[in-house]
């Protein structure tokens, strides 16, 4: 059994007991525990089930590389699935539940997959779920969906808050082991601005656990002094619980700080995502121990040797009463020695090397530990817990020599530097034969914005396996980074570290060397995704020779741990299967983040009310008070309609339309773009920008204009007013203000930079209100001020003055066909002016109308709307706007494009009005069937007569048009629509059939798009 020891536990505060629950059972741990160490202290070795075979799984590691111990953590708004128990700090009240089993952890029916494992090899899903095709939807997919996924999905909204922080440093050091600390000291002493981050809650990494001495004293003493020195440097910032998640182009790094995971009740953001721009980045990220591949290496109780040592030394936890150590290197002997020192039994050390280990081995033997050389584990006995190991010669095929009873197995296959952060941004690796691992190739580092190297690795992450080398190389890295960022390093020497000499390790990729299929099919490479040695071999056999293909075929390394334990072992097996060398096979791509980070930290502050900026007009508050039905228009919110109490939105729209036509409507048009264009060349510039002439517009006058892109397509429209001799005011659509202003500036800055023109976007300077309807003038006259009579201010004229005491600029323009004034007042007076209009307009039933009424009013008049009648493929000629295309101008943006053959094709779809024969409203976007075979012939190479229309060679109906705007007109009491139809204007009176989803086609007649007041008498009074 696993239990708490009376001694050891350097990270524990034994004075502070902490209660928590696991699967509803209350357990006790100490402050300083991780959830994993506390579970082990409570003899909870079984923590989950594997993904595919639902095999029982125990804790394997003690840190970020843990593949098995994933739990559902917390509840409600603080719920999080797939939390690693090894990196979850224990706190009072923590609740955890195990994952991926049904009905319970101990009794899981999914384990039948395990017994069928023989029939579920790599690629099983791809091979099995192909036929019959119909089974996919009803059988396979529901089954896979039910089985897929590890943790539960959260049901409540996340109750926490998160933030970002932009920081700029000379040197970012990732990893707070002795290498990171020494690099920080060296860079900090040189005067560089340093940020040192450590993912766990404590400093020093493995050195104190491994008995390293620095300057003749225990590593812990040196660490304490180093921290004190760093705290005293004003130019150095240090952070625990902060992980280097990713390294990106030009020295950018994402660093993930977990502020409140260990104290969920604190009034703090839960996570902070640091967005760092560093001159230099030092990755002192340490190394990860590799498992060994022997049959049953996944049985709970089999653990990394270093992890088992961590649990003893750091957390005072005995993983088992009787431990067997299996190794191919000297380091694992430290585990045997530590276990023995804690008063526990070490049954044997199984060393695959014929010659065994060095001084550490001698020490173990002197402690009376049995050491078996040239030996392997043939098989682990036990299912939910190790009961013993059968041992055999490593050189053989697995014939058992002896059974050694035990309840814990500590395995070590050597160490792999954590090269992830080095590799994220293009740092290359080299293979180290002696250590059988990939390490950073310092000659091929990630390159920065000036072509300079910007990442340095330090310590064991650089392949320095002995602590003396670690400190020396970290010291050099810190100094080099400081130098590269403009500081002058001090000529100090690195502290001296010492640890035991070691014999060379021997690469062992499976145990025993000649293991047959039966054993290989129980040797797990990827514990979470259930990928075994036999699976990788099968993939190689089936031709998946590229490591990237093998990964995807077998899912090796695709679990939440991203192959931290399985990567190298898998590569080695693949290389062997391919009769190739590991460096030739290469690694898969290391991608950020190093370990999963919360989605919410990526979102940062962007949640809830501040998910996106919401743009509000000065009159927005009135809409809130008057039940506005808001619709998004870009980031603006505009009122779609203002339903009264008990009124439907549809009824409100109709009421607003009729009130405006009959008497008086008020529209908040503040969102319309207002761009000032001024300068000696402004007229010339606007003539290039608009399709029609603007240079000859007289001051005091307005003109409607169209703008096209260089592709010839219509991009925006609006009324231009000439302010004075060299100043024009260009109105744009709501969505166009920023875009058109940018468009103007782009042409001025990059093409016509010698033209003297300045622009300024004044959109938000003014609140603009459209006063519309037969009583519009009466209202303004009642408010008093400037002369707004027909003679003083004619249609398409503008004037400045005062209305009701407000400074106003009044444009007599109409987008509704009614008598209409658009009045701009300073934004800060917008709400007051709006209120004044309502108050004074009450006698004419002044009615606020929203965007839908606006759209209907304009559609009744046949006015086009950018974004409805246009979609980026429509040219002004398609919309019958030839009158707005100047023939006098040599050039304007889009003119040349409009001469291209497709643009001048007489068969283009062109704007018409559409009237359903029964008065109903056409569906928006409906297509018209082409029933005219002679017209269809021109559009298709092959065609024939079909059910509704001409069909092409594939039997598909040919379309000849589509609906672009469609509304119920309360004015006309029928449906009205506009659409684009092939040769439309030539087909007046023709009845077309329009698609109607799941129903018979609808008949509509082609008519003029101007449905209301075709002579334009009403706007011109």
């Amino acid at each position: 059994m696993s239990t708490r020891l009376a001694t050891q536990g350097r990270l524990l505060n034994r004075g502070a007991q902490v209660k928590f629950t696991f699967n509803g059972r209350t357990m006790t741990g100490f402050e300083g525990d991780t959830l994993a160490s506390a579970l082990l202290a409570n003899d909870q070795m079984l923590v989950g089930r594997s993904f595919k075979y639902h095999r029982p799984r125990g804790i394997v590691a003690s840190g970020a590389e843990e593949p098995n111990a994933l739990v559902n953590l917390g509840r409600d708004g603080k719920f999080e699935p797939n939390a690693r128990a090894t990196t979850t700090e224990l706190f009072a009240g923590l609740t955890a539940r195990s994952q991926n089993h049904w009905p319970s952890l101990e009794m899981d029916v999914g384990v039948v997959n395990n017994y069928a494992a023989r029939f579920m090899p790599a690629g099983f899903y791809y091979k099995t779920f192909i036929h019959p095709r119909a089974a996919w939807k009803h059988v396979f997919e529901p089954f896979i969906r039910h089985a897929a996924g590890l943790g539960a999905a959260p049901k409540s909204a996340d109750a926490d808050r998160y933030e970002h922080f932009y920081a700029f440093v000379d040197v970012l050091i990732i990893g707070g082991g002795i290498a990171g600390l020494q690099a920080a000291l060296a860079a900090g002493e040189a005067g560089a601005k340093v940020l040192l981050v450590e993912q766990t809650s404590h400093w020093g990494g493995r050195a104190p656990v491994d008995g390293v001495e620095i300057n003749g004293a225990p590593a812990d003493d040196w660490i304490k002094n180093a921290l004190q020195a760093l705290e005293n440097m004003p130019n150095v910032t240090i952070r625990t619980r902060t992980m280097g998640a990713g390294v990106y182009d030009h020295g950018y790094a994402l660093v993930y700080e977990r502020l409140a995971d260990h104290k969920p009740d604190a009034d703090l953001p839960r996570h902070r995502l640091w967005k760092i721009r560093a001159g230099q980045i030092i990755t002192a990220t340490g190394a990860i121990e590799r498992p060994l591949s022997f049959a049953g290496n996944d049985v709970p109780g089999v653990m990394l040797a270093s992890a088992l040592r961590d649990y003893v030394v750091n957390y005072g936890v005995s993983v088992g009463d009787r431990t067997v150590v299996v190794t191919n290197n000297d380091d694992a002997y430290r585990t045997a020695i530590a276990v023995k020192a804690a008063g526990l039994d070490v049954a044997a050390i199984i060393d695959a090397r014929p010659d065994g280990g060095g001084p550490l081995a001698a020490e173990a033997e002197s402690l009376g530990i049995r050491v078996e050389k040239g030996t392997a584990v043939a098989k682990v006995n036990g299912s939910k817990r190790v009961t013993g190991v059968e041992i055999c010669p490593q050189a053989g095929e697995g014939k058992t020599m002896t059974l050694i009873p035990c309840d814990a197995v500590a395995m070590s296959g050597g160490w792999s530097p954590v090269v992830h952060l080095w590799s994220h941004c293009g740092g290359k690796l080299i293979w180290d034969d002696a250590q059988a691992h990939f390490k950073p190739d310092a000659s091929r580092p990630p390159m920065g914005d000036k072509g300079q190297p910007f990442v340095i690795t330090a310590g064991i992450a650089d392949g320095a396996m002995r602590s003396a080398e670690v400190l020396a190389n970290a010291d050099a890295a810190g100094k080099e980074a400081a130098k590269r960022t403009g500081s002058t390093p001090k000529s100090t020497k690195a502290p001296k570290a010492s640890d035991a000499d070691e014999n060379p390790m021997a690469p062992v990729w499976k145990m025993p060397q000649g293991a047959g299929y039966k054993l290989r099919s129980k040797m797990f490479l990827d514990f979470q995704n259930d990928v075994k040695v036999s699976d990788v071999q099968l993939a190689a056999q089936e031709g998946f020779e590229s490591v990237e293909h093998t990964k995807r075929y077998t899912t090796l390394g695709m679990a939440t741990d991203q192959g931290k334990l399985s990567n190298i072992n898998g590569l080695a097996v693949l290389a062997e299967s391919l009769n190739s060398e590991i460096p030739q096979v290469g690694t898969t791509t290391f991608r950020p983040p190093y370990t999963p980070i919360s989605m919410a930290s990526i979102a940062g502050e962007a949640r809830g009310e501040i998910f996106q900026p919401l743009r509000r007009t000065p009159i927005h508050g009135w809409g809130d008070d008057n039940n506005a039905d808001w619709e998004p228009v870009g980031h603006w919110r505009r009122a779609y309609a203002y339903p009264k109490q008990g009124e439907s939105v549809e009824d409100a729209v109709n009421r607003e339309v009729l009130a405006t036509r009959k008497s008086l409507g008020l529209l908040d048009a503040s969102t319309l773009g207002k761009i000032i264009v001024k300068g000696p060349d402004a007229g010339k510039f606007l003539d290039m920008l608009y399709t029609n002439m603007m240079s000859n517009l007289k001051p005091g006058k307005c003109r409607y204009g169209l703008m096209c892109t260089e592709n010839g397509f219509l991009t925006d429209d609006g009324v231009v007013a000439r302010m004075d001799d060299d100043t024009w005011l260009c109105h744009t659509t709501t969505g166009g203000a920023e875009r058109i202003h940018a468009h103007m500036e782009e042409w001025l800055q990059t093409e016509w930079w010698d033209w003297k023109v300045y622009t300024a976007n004044l959109t938000e300077q003014f609140a603009q209100i459209a006063v519309v309807g037969p009583n519009a003038r009466k209202l303004l006259e009642k408010l008093g001020g400037m002369d707004v009579s027909k003679d003083a201010l004619g249609f398409m004229e503008w004037a400045e003055g005062q209305i009701g005491g407000f400074d106003a600029r009044v444009f007599r323009i109409s987008f509704s066909g009614e008598l209409s004034y658009e009045i701009a007042v300073p934004a800060s007076q917008g709400r007051a002016f709006w209120d004044a209009l309502h108050e004074a307009g009450a006698e004419w039933n002044a009615t606020a109308y929203g965007t839908e009424a606006l759209h209907i009013l304009r559609a009744e008049k046949g006015f086009i709307m950018i974004g409805d009648e246009t979609d980026g493929t429509v040219i002004p000629q398609d919309l019958g706007l030839h009158w707005a295309l100047s023939k006098k101008k040599d050039d304007y943006l889009g003119k040349r494009a409009q001469q291209r053959s497709h643009m001048t094709d007489p068969d283009r779809w062109q704007l018409v009005g559409l009237e359903t024969t029964d008065g109903s409203v056409l569906p928006d976007g409906a297509y018209a069937y082409e029933t005219d075979l002679s017209r269809a012939q021109r559009g298709a190479a092959e065609f024939a007569e079909g059910k509704h229309a001409a069909v092409n060679a594939n039997g598909q109906s040919l379309a000849c048009g589509r609906v672009t705007s469609t509304y119920y007109s309360a004015t006309l009491k029928r449906g009205i629509a506009m659409g684009l139809v092939r040769n439309g204007p030539d087909r007046m009176g023709e009845v077309l059939q329009f698609t109607n989803i799941n129903d018979d086609p609808i008949s509509a007649k082609i008519v003029s798009p101007v449905f209301y007041d075709p002579e334009g008498e009403k706007q011109n009074v």
Binding site: D267, P613, I676, A827, R831
Partner: protein
């Protein structure tokens, strides 16, 4: 009718260890022209009593200020009540040359972020190095805060003034307040 004028958030204020406040309306004029021109310098001086700022510089004197916005643009700051007249005066003074003076007072919202943590509040939102040796009073930075455009400068070591568009004033206020509420990062603050 400036007595009817209200700023976007009507002087809303958040008081924490860092204070965030809508400062109310401020006179602001966009002035585009040749910044090297003597006539322009004279007009700016007449309007504000200040010279033409150098690249990324902001000059202030009492309630007047001039900020460098781009190689051909200045932001002139005066009391709100004087903005219309100042804009007209500037345009008149520059009538002989190619220049544009536009009153943008109502198109803006101005916030004051005050307290020792003001640098960190900004650094939570803007991709800008807010270290005291990299960003000091007298410098203006145009950039973004979260998802909107903004410009800011420091009035003194513990006060930032920030300008954004009026339509997004509520968003700007909300994100600034949240950043302030989330507390210090202890990165830009001196070590205690």
């Amino acid at each position: 009718m400036s007595d009817m004028s209200v700023s976007a958030l009507s002087n809303a204020q958040y008081d924490g260890s860092v204070q965030v406040a809508d400062t109310g309306l401020r006179g602001m004029i966009t002035l585009r022209g040749d910044l090297a021109d003597k006539g322009l310098a004279k007009a700016v001086k007449a309007a504000t009593g200040l010279g033409v700022p150098k690249q990324r510089q902001v000059l202030t004197k009492g309630s007047n200020g001039v900020a460098w916005m781009s190689p051909d643009e200045l932001l002139i700051m005066v009391p709100y009540s004087a903005a219309t007249q100042t804009a007209a005066d500037l345009q008149l003074a520059l009538s002989g040359q190619h220049a544009l003076a536009a009153n943008v007072s109502d198109a803006r919202a101005v916030f004051r972020i005050a307290g020792a943590g003001c640098r960190e509040v900004i650094a939570k939102l803007a991709p800008v190095d807010m270290a005291s040796d990299k960003f000091a009073p007298g410098t203006i930075r145009r950039t973004r805060i979260a998802q909107i455009a903004a410009a800011f400068w420091m009035v003194d070591e513990e006060t930032v003034e920030l300008v954004c568009f009026r339509s997004v004033a509520q968003y700007a206020f909300d994100i600034l307040v949240q950043a302030a509420k989330n507390g210090p990062v202890d990165f830009h603050l001196p070590k205690s």
